[in-house]
């Protein structure tokens, strides 16, 4: 079975990075098991494959990872159609920025470290294409990707109002957070493997 991180990072079979990964089989296998749990062996009642793929494509583009973006865009197209894939691409392009940023509580000593930045919102036109649930999930994904320290009860309330269940919010939170891991491992190993091959 193809290992997804090997594929996203372009790991050279038999090379140094391949050997480093195989020296930590539990890490390698459970990163793969995480992908399997979120994208292959799913509970569609909490979040459908198209909903998961749209979020993943959006998050991959926000991370400026072209390989992962192409992978998840294909999954969006297969599970949700071309209009969805196109809408997600346009929104992600509009939502690109650099993080992490965000406000710390005004009454605390960290307020001096507060950094202003984009507050992403899905426009009405895109909202019609995506539907309320997916629109809300992308807004939440943008929050978690770029300003996780501003996560709030209000953000979860917005997801609930858009139709997300408690189980669904747990899955969505895992999904975005897992991608923050997967895309960084891929980016780091890609850098290591490039040096190895050079």
């Amino acid at each position: 079975m193809t290992d997804i991180i090997d594929r996203l990072a372009g790991v050279t079979p038999g090379g140094t990075v391949d050997a480093l990964r195989r020296h930590r089989p539990a890490t390698r296998d459970n990163a793969q098991a995480s992908y399997h749990a979120l994208f292959e062996n799913i509970e569609a009642a909490s979040a459908t494959l198209a909903e998961r793929a749209a979020v993943a494509q959006f998050v991959a583009i926000l991370h400026d990872d072209e390989v992962a973006a192409a992978h998840y865009a294909a999954l969006t197209r297969e599970s949700g159609g071309e209009a969805l894939e196109r809408a997600v691409t346009e929104l992600a392009e509009a939502g690109r920025t650099e993080g992490p940023y965000g406000e710390y509580p005004a009454e605390g000593p960290l307020v001096g470290e507060s950094v202003a930045g984009l507050r992403f919102a899905v426009d009405d036109h895109a909202r019609e294409i995506l539907g309320e649930r997916t629109a809300a999930s992308l807004e939440h994904a943008h929050l978690l990707v770029f300003r996780p320290r501003e996560s709030s009860v209000a953000a979860l309330t917005a997801l609930g109002a858009a139709g997300w269940s408690t189980d669904g919010i747990v899955t969505l939170s895992q999904l975005v957070s897992f991608l923050a891991f997967q895309l960084r491992v891929a980016a780091g190993l890609r850098l290591l493997d490039t040096e190895d091959a050079a």
Partner: protein, 224 residues
């Protein structure tokens, strides 16, 4: 005690057999909680914003998701166990990255990568736990405390500077990790397995921070 209020997006939450539409999320808020405002190595608590699964109703699959049955006592893990398969895979990934330390990066430096990532992302809870672990394994309380008090740019020795810089560069979105960060780690004496371990330890905390921040809040223990 913390006052806990339940605010449901929809009034009807009764689940009956054969009714597949899940109820909209019930949100928990904690208006009386004491929120930590600064990074600390002290033990602090965590309060969920969504209802954890009830311990009495946990299935065998959910216990497998918890990995350690004792985690059924934790609100955090009983909330995550609503999606047991990803919780199990995540927990096993976490344990291997941080505890499989026969070679590669020493435990203290794995915890330092976790603490630096948490400091940069702004996860006061995660930073408290892993700064404490970094101090425990390194016996360098003051160096760890400087990371918490003065931030990622505070003065550190060359090896810790290399760990913190690589972790922070990787935590940026998009990633700013470059060859020079990996070279600095090698120059500080870390081998290729250790460099890979830095990447994994730091990357993992981008998962942990976002999960911990997304679904609940840190809480000062009573009396503080």
């Amino acid at each position: 005690m913390t006052e806990q209020t339940i605010d449901r997006a929809e009034a009807a939450t009764t689940c009956t057999a054969g009714a597949p539409a899940p109820a909209a999320a019930g949100i928990l808020s904690h208006p009386e909680a004491s929120v930590p405002l600064a990074f600390t190595q002290a033990e602090i608590g965590w309060l969920p914003w969504l209802e954890p699964a009830e311990e009495a109703t946990l299935t065998e699959r959910q216990y497998e998701g918890l990995v350690d049955r004792g985690r059924a006592k934790s609100d955090y893990f009983r909330l995550l166990v609503r999606d047991p398969d990803i919780l199990r895979a995540r927990t096993l990934t976490d344990k291997d990255i941080f505890y499989n330390a026969n070679d590669g990066l020493p435990r203290a430096e794995r915890e330092l990568a976790a603490a630096a990532t948490s400091r940069f992302n702004g996860c006061i809870f995660c930073a408290s736990v892993h700064a404490r672990f970094a101090t425990h394994h390194s016996k360098r309380h003051d160096d760890v405390q400087r990371l918490l008090d003065d931030g990622i740019d505070a003065v550190q020795d060359a090896a810790w500077r290399a760990i913190i810089d690589a972790s922070v560069a990787l935590a940026a979105t998009p990633s700013r990790l470059e060859t020079r960060h990996l070279d600095a780690l090698r120059a500080a004496g870390f081998d290729e397995q250790a460099v890979s371990d830095v990447i994994h330890s730091a990357a993992f905390f981008n998962w942990a921070n976002r999960l911990m921040l997304s679904i609940g809040q840190p809480d000062n223990p009573p009396g503080e």
